[in-house]
C-alpha cells in the first residue's frame, strides 16, 4: 500500500527524523486539495490541522474592519502552514485563502499532540522543528515591521 511516508521523508521539515517517528506521523497525515478562493481555515475556528503545501499558494489573511481581508503573507509549494493547533485554545488566528489550486498533506493536530504526549522524544523532535519554523517567521515579521523600503 502506498503511504505518504516517502513524501514526508523528502520534506526538509522532516529531514533526519527517525524512520520510526516518521511512520508514527504518517498515521496522522492525509492528502487534501483545495480550489481557488476556498478558505482552507478561518480565523476563530478550531485549528485541527497543519498543512505541508505540495503545490499551489495560500494567502494568510486577517479581517480588518473597514479594510476587509488583508493578506499578511503568502505561502507556497514546500511551505508549512499553521501552528494554532499546537497551543490552546487551538483556534486559527488568521484565515487561509487559496490563491492557486492547492495540493497538500494535512497533519491532524490532535493525533500529533497525542503521539507527542505518549513519546516525549518524538515530541521534542517535533517541537524543535516547529520552534525553528516559528523563529524564522518571527524574524521575517520583524524585518517586515522595519518597513525597509519606505522613506526614512
Amino acid at each position: 500500500m502506498h503511504t505518504l511516508e516517502p513524501i514526508l521523508a523528502k520534506h526538509p521539515f522532516f529531514e533526519g527524523l527517525d524512520k520510526r517517528y516518521l511512520e508514527l506521523l504518517t498515521g496522522c497525515a492525509s492528502n487534501v486539495a483545495f480550489k481557488p478562493d476556498t478558505l482552507v481555515f478561518r480565523e476563530g475556528e478550531d485549528a485541527k490541522q497543519f498543512f505541508i503545501l505540495r503545490e499551489g499558494a495560500i494567502a494568510i489573511e486577517i479581517f480588518v474592519p473597514g479594510q476587509g481581508n488583508v493578506t499578511i503573507q503568502t505561502v507556497e509549494e514546500g511551505d508549512i502552514v499553521g501552528w494554532s493547533w499546537l497551543f490552546p485554545p487551538y483556534r486559527w488566528m488568521f484565515s487561509g485563502r487559496v490563491l492557486q489550486p492547492v495540493r497538500a498533506i494535512a497533519l491532524d493536530g490532535e493525533c500529533l499532540r497525542k503521539k507527542c504526549e505518549e513519546d516525549h522524544s518524538l515530541g521534542y523532535e517535533f517541537f524543535k522543528r516547529f520552534s525553528h519554523l516559528l523563529v524564522e517567521r518571527l524574524q521575517a515579521t520583524r524585518l517586515q515591521l522595519l518597513d525597509l523600503y519606505s522613506i526614512h
Partner: protein, 287 residues
C-alpha cells in the same frame, strides 16, 4: 571570487570633475515617489560607455549634486537613464525637471556588477525597492548575451504593489521562457494576488544551482545582509555574492572622503563590492 570589474578605460578620458551638459529627453513617474529621466548630451555626442552597477553625479543647477546609479541599457549610447526617488532637496528639484530642461552629469564612476565574469554560471539577481534600478543594466546585459549564462533568476521585493518598479518590464521579463522572475511585496493592497512576504523568502524556492551561482544584491543594507545570509544558507559561496553599497558621495573619485566606509571609499572601491569584502562592516554600528 569573481574578479571585480574596474572603471572602463574610456571613462578616464573625461575630466572627472567637469559636468557635461545634458538635456532631459523624457521624464516619467514610475511610482508615486520614484521617477526616471532619460538624458541626452546637449552637444549631440554619444554618452560615455558605462558598465552595469556604475553611477553618475547628477547636478541640478543652483540646487546641488548627488550620485545616482545608471539604470538604462549599457548597449545604448544615445540616452542615459536614471531612476531615483524624490526624497531630498536635489531629487525633489530633479523630479520637477521637464523635457528640454538641462542638468549636469559627471561620470560614470565606480565598480561594476560581475556580469561578464558570471558567464557559465547561474545568475541570481536580488533587488529590494529601488535597488532594482542599479541592477537593471545588469539584466539588460545578461539578456543581450543570454546564451552565456545558465539559469537566470530575478527576485524582487517591493513595499506594496503600487511600489513595484518597472512593472511592464518585469511582466515582459516574466514572459521569457529562459528567465525566472519572482516578485513579492511586504504589504498587499488592492487586488494583488501575488506573493506577500520578504524578498528573502523567495530564495529558498528559487530554481538555481547554489554551487554554481553568482548573486548580485541591491537594496537597503539590512535587506542585503539578510539576503546574503539566506543565499549562503542555500549554499551560494560568499565570495560569489555581490552587493551595492551607498554612502554620501561628493567628489566621486576617492579624494574628499565623504563616502568613507571603513577602509574603503564607496565611490572608488565600490559601489559594488564582493560581499566577503564588506561583510564584517555591515554589522558595525560605528561605520
Amino acid at each position: 571570487m569573481l574578479t571585480p570589474a574596474v572603471q572602463p578605460p574610456a571613462a578616464r578620458l573625461y575630466d572627472p570633475m567637469l559636468p557635461s551638459l545634458h538635456r532631459v529627453e523624457y521624464a516619467r513617474w514610475d511610482t508615486d515617489d520614484t521617477f526616471s529621466l532619460e538624458l541626452a548630451r546637449v552637444d549631440g555626442a554619444t554618452i560615455p560607455p558605462f558598465e552595469p552597477g556604475q553611477f553618475n553625479m547628477l547636478y541640478v543647477y543652483g540646487v546641488g549634486e548627488i550620485p545616482i546609479s545608471i539604470s538604462g541599457d549599457p548597449a545604448r549610447r544615445d540616452l542615459l537613464v536614471h531612476t531615483t526617488r524624490a526624497v531630498g532637496t536635489v531629487t525633489r528639484a530633479m523630479s520637477t525637471l521637464k523635457v528640454g530642461d538641462s542638468l549636469g552629469v559627471r561620470g560614470p564612476f565606480g565598480t561594476t556588477w560581475p556580469v561578464d565574469a558570471a558567464r557559465g554560471r547561474d545568475v541570481v539577481i536580488v533587488a529590494g525597492g529601488i535597488g532594482l534600478a542599479p541592477l537593471r543594466p545588469a539584466m539588460y546585459r545578461i539578456l543581450a548575451h543570454r546564451e552565456h549564462y545558465n539559469r537566470v533568476v530575478l527576485l524582487y521585493g517591493a513595499r506594496t504593489p503600487g511600489d513595484v518598479l518597472y512593472r511592464k518590464e518585469l511582466e515582459q521579463w516574466r514572459a521569457h521562457f529562459d528567465l525566472d522572475v519572482f516578485v513579492t511585496v511586504d504589504r498587499a493592497t488592492g487586488s494583488w494576488r501575488g506573493s506577500v512576504g520578504l524578498v528573502t523568502s523567495l530564495i529558498g524556492r528559487a530554481p538555481f544551482d547554489p554551487l554554481n551561482t553568482a548573486a548580485m544584491v541591491c537594496g537597503p543594507e539590512v535587506m542585503m545582509r539578510f539576503t546574503a545570509a539566506e543565499l549562503e544558507k542555500r549554499g551560494v559561496k560568499g565570495d560569489l555574492i555581490y552587493v551595492s553599497m551607498e554612502r554620501n558621495m561628493k567628489c566621486a573619485i576617492g579624494l574628499c572622503g565623504h563616502c568613507q566606509y571603513g577602509p574603503f571609499f564607496i565611490c572608488k572601491d565600490g559601489p559594488v563590492f564582493p560581499y566577503r569584502r564588506v561583510q564584517h562592516l555591515l554589522s558595525k554600528w560605528e561605520i
